[in-house]
Symmetry: C2
Subunit: 196 residues, 2 copies
């Protein structure tokens, strides 16, 4: 396999993982067999443009032929778009758990405005999932939600909602949660779009 092909395979794999898709999920979106995606990502095939574009489009990527002279600039741009901090696996896992818990509560038909509010807060929070470095709060919220089923009722919902709101605001305002837990931070940032 050529260098170009390997890079391509790595790019596709990285893009898929960044979107949190499994090979099978991507397969469904792109209309390409999972077995083939596996082979592609391992660089075992010399794929055709149709396969490439199908998969790339499913991953919100666009195939481009850029003049060599412009290639460095394109790489810079691509990097700047890609280098948003990535959600940690733990964060994603915890968020998935929370989502499941919320689905379950919905199935209980509680139908309180408090619950609707909580769901909205959850959706808004998810937009910043990449910023989550610490899942304690999420875990705490999930604990609170468990109480809903057992005894807590709406009171537990309100407690969860309060925590969710505070957590979301913290993320939205760019207050890294390490800030509160006193973890060391990187001394620099690759992208300059940080408004602190």
């Amino acid at each position: 396999m050529s260098y170009e092909s390997e890079k391509l395979a790595a790019t596709l794999k990285a893009a898929r993982e960044k979107k949190g898709l499994s090979q099978r999920a991507l397969s469904a979106h792109a209309g390409v067999p999972q077995s083939h995606i596996s082979k592609i990502e391992s660089g075992a095939v010399n794929l055709t443009v149709s396969s490439l574009t199908a998969i790339a489009n499913a991953l919100d990527l666009e195939l481009a032929l850029v003049p060599r002279k412009a290639a460095p600039a394109v790489r810079t741009i691509t990097r700047s778009v890609n280098d948003v901090p990535k959600a940690t696996p733990e964060a994603r896992k915890e968020i998935a758990r929370l989502a499941k818990q919320l689905e379950h509560i919905q199935s209980l038909k509680i139908d309180s405005p408090v619950f609707e509010n909580l769901q909205r807060q959850f959706r808004e929070m998810r937009q910043f999932e990449n910023l989550i470095r610490n899942t304690d709060t999420l875990r705490s919220i999930r604990e609170a939600l468990k109480a809903v089923e057992n005894a807590g009722g709406v009171a537990a919902l309100q407690e969860a909602s309060k925590q969710m709101n505070s957590f979301r605001n913290a993320l939205a305002h760019g207050i890294a949660d390490e800030e509160r837990t006193r973890l060391p931070r990187p001394a620099y940032r690759l992208d300059g779009d940080n408004d602190e």
Copy 2:
């Protein structure tokens, strides 16, 4: 054929023509049969990445997967690099004629420093061939060179060299040759890269 594929084919063809390569010349560089290049450019095949990269590299293009979000910026950059004024067919033709004439003179083994100088000037001039709007001077130089063979000898070479030097300098300093010859110009241009 999909839209993506057609665009790809068009891009490759445009890039090849811009470089002034025939399908056969490109074939030699890229290691891909001319017949296949023809099919590719007509969008008749779903080419593989290896073919694509081979041809693209021969055309100084780089295959890239850019995030949709970054695609507009990439297009802008690419355009800015591509939109250097293109050499007119007449200019290219006249330059080819000149090159041939120079080759012929070289075969005469004149071996004068004046001729070497002339060749260097020619090479330098070619770098600006995109700026040539008017081929009168080139034709004039070629006329002068014809005299070398018949009678003129080194004197004719010197005359040609003098003209070449002046022409090259004019191009290098961005003095459009229309400026001097006062030819009628089109009232509009499709591309906006005209610096008047």
